[in-house]
Every structure is written in C-alpha cells, then in structure tokens.
Assembly symmetry: C2
Homo-oligomer: 253 residues x 2
Amino acid sequence: MRRLKLTIAYDGADFAGFQSQQNQRTIQGELEKALKKVTGETIIVYGAGRTDAGVHARGQVVHLTTNTRIPTEKWVWVFNHMLPRDLAVIHAEEVSDGFHARYDACWKRYRYEIDTHAIPDVFTGRYRTRIKGELNQLVMREAAQHLLGTHDFTALSSAKSAIKNRVRTLYQCDVESMTAGISITTAGNGFLYNMVRIIAGLLVQVGKGSLLPEQVPEIIASRDRGRIGKTLPPEGLTLMEVSYQPWEKSLHP
Amino acid sequence: MRRLKLTIAYDGADFAGFQSQQNQRTIQGELEKALKKVTGETIIVYGAGRTDAGVHARGQVVHLTTNTRIPTEKWVWVFNHMLPRDLAVIHAEEVSDGFHARYDACWKRYRYEIDTHAIPDVFTGRYRTRIKGELNQLVMREAAQHLLGTHDFTALSSAKSAIKNRVRTLYQCDVESMTAGISITTAGNGFLYNMVRIIAGLLVQVGKGSLLPEQVPEIIASRDRGRIGKTLPPEGLTLMEVSYQPWEKSLHP
C-alpha cells in the first residue's frame, strides 16, 4: 500500500463542488472514477478542503491510498489521460502512511477575483465576479489590515455552519489591482464556511463606501453574521495553495 | 429604421455554433432572444461569418435593423444586461442602411492556439488545443510563408463544401510562441469551410516533421484535400477581427 499526495487544479464552473453527491458531477467523483480506470481499485480521495459548486482551484491537495505500481513520476501523465478537460493533476508525490490532506494542512491561500470593467469579458467571466461601480482600493486595504491576526470569525462565516470553534488566524489579506479588476488574496490557518466570500463581500462594501474600515473590528467583535452584506458568488473564488509547512512571515513579505 | 453594427465576443465552448438551429443554443439565437427582450421587436441578426460549434470570437461583427430609440452609446450596456456570461457586445455603432456584416467585409483575422505543455491547464483548456510532442516553429514559419498570397485553397478546405470559387488571398500567417504553447494568426480576404483549422493542422504536421515546408506549394497546387492530415478541433480557434477597410500591408508589418 502506498499513500499518494496529489496537487490538482480545476475549473469549478461545471462541477457541483468537491464532495461526492449522487447524480452530480463533482471533483471527488471524477477523480475516483479516473482512479478506478487507472488502477482497477475502488479508491476514496480525501481533499484538503471541500470547495463549493463553482469554486475553482489551482492548488487543491488530495491524498489517497493505492496498491498500484505505477511509478510516482508517471502518475501525473497517466492520470491526466483519464481526466476531463476541466480537472487536472499538476503534481504527485509519495508520502508517509500517516499523511492526511485535510488534518495536516498548516494554511491555505485563496484568491477572489473581481471584474470591474464596464464591458464583460467572456473569457474571464467563468473565473471572476462582476461588480459594477468604482471600488476604492485604499480603504479596502485599510479594512483588510483589521482582519489579520487571530479572531472569532463568527460574524464573517455562514450562519448555517454548525461548527463550534470559530477562532481562526489570518496571515495575509491583500487587495491588488489586476487587468480590468481587483483581486483579494487571503491566507490563514483555516477558513469557516463561506468565509472568503463573506470577507470579499465586506471589502467590496468598504470599497463602495457603505462601510468604513474602522468599523471592521467592531463587526468582528459582534460575532453577528447579520451585520454585513451578502456572500459574494462562488465563480470569483479560487483555492490557490494548501501548505503543510507552518506560515513564516519572512517567506511571505 | 436604423441599422446597427455590433462587435461581439463569445466563449464558443457551450454554443452549437453561430447560426440558429432549432433546440440548440447558438450565438444568433441568444442575440435574437436578447434583442426581443430589449426592443420588443423580432430582429434577425446577420453575422460576418458563421463560426462552428466550439469556435470562439473576440471580434465577430453582426448587423441588424431596428426601430428602437435606445441611443447607440447606451446600446452596449443595455444589451449586455440581457446576454449570458459567455456572450457580450463590445462595441456598437450606427451604420448606413446598405451596410452588410458579411458582404462588406474586406478581411478577417483568426487565431489558432495550441497548448504544448506537458501538464494540461484547466483554465485555458476551453480555448486551446493540446498537441503532444515538440513542434519545430522554424519550419512551421517557413511553411506558413508558402501559404501567403492568392491561391486556389481546395486542398486546404473541407471536402464537404459545395462552393465553386475556392480562390482566396492570405495576407498574414504568423506562427508565434506564447506561454506554454504556440499560436497561428492568419488574415485573409475570405476563408473556406474549415480552412483555418486545416491550415493549423498542416503547420502542425510540418512542425512535427511529417511534412516539409517545400512540399506546401505542391500540396496547394494538387487541389486534393486528401493530401494532408485531419482538421484540428474547434476549441483552439478564435475569430479575432473582421475588417471593413482594405488590407494595407503598411499597417500590418
């Protein structure tokens, strides 16, 4: 038995999310189907995080256990032959038996892309959320600074979530210009349900002037999800990286 | 009555081509549906070219006639509100009654993109064709030079086409490197059915060494479609521009 760690990328637009669901096209489902074809085995895939329907990934990580003798260096090539165009393995390595893609992750990085251009771009429309009107990036950056550090993020996570411990640490929250839009890049030791999309929504409210950056600490402290606007849609969100090394500030200036 | 000229862009992956077909999602069908919503009129849209299923456009041109009083400068904004994410109007202008998107076109430019990277890119997979193995760009460029000028392009068009006059003039045929692949950009006064995809296939054969550049003139002269390999798939192809001004070499060095 060998344990493999795969780094995968997907265009999430045509998937009903990561997790297997009956009669739905999911990342886990397509991976397990391809694994069956390649190895003949019924293999369960464990992901670092269950991305929602419509959310993309450039660096999702999964692990699996297999008896196959296919050499690790051929794995990417062999496996990609069995995968659809919108799902690909970009790296494969053998790891120790105890490795777990989800429980061993130290931090994750997400990116939320917003298209602010007056004319829609049909070639990035699957990967960005369109927001009309000007966004003031200076105040968005100021608000983002208030999110950094360790907080109870109840006010910035889905009210539907049943999880108890909502304390998480945010290491990074950058607002940057890109062609025809802006991106929000955030890294943390864990993210609650819908948290990145709610953070993006909060920053957009600030960018539009309907919230002030200095209101952010008080909103966090309220632990009240009702204090800010709606969750932004999934299409702008991409899981960029899952890391199994502790965050070092020196490496991410 | 006003005649409008619209420049449109689309991600062709989820369309059954430009031309209206019953029970199929087409560019023409979606445009006419949106026009009905905006104007209340039943309007027929005439395209400069009927792109196939899966083919994209960054600069397709259509014309239409309408009684609507919506000012031309608002047209892009109003119309895009009614269009799906993969279809957009990027420019609108009022033209003279006699203007015809197809018959008045002087030249068109297409681009065919090929992904040669070992690992598939899920975010460009809808817009590029994957070709395995090395492609020698030097010989591809040499072969492309032989295609320029005025020829009977029967050998490089679909055998299914019933058209009589197959003489066309190619003004441009450039082979260029791009990130993780190569692109073929070609402009001409007209293109026969499947002609760009067959030209791309010919150049790939040359790039792989199964044809020599100096064989190209003789292949064209044969007027025999059977002389070269298969038509490359539609996903790599994009209609970049339709021009209503004569080609001037000085403007396209």
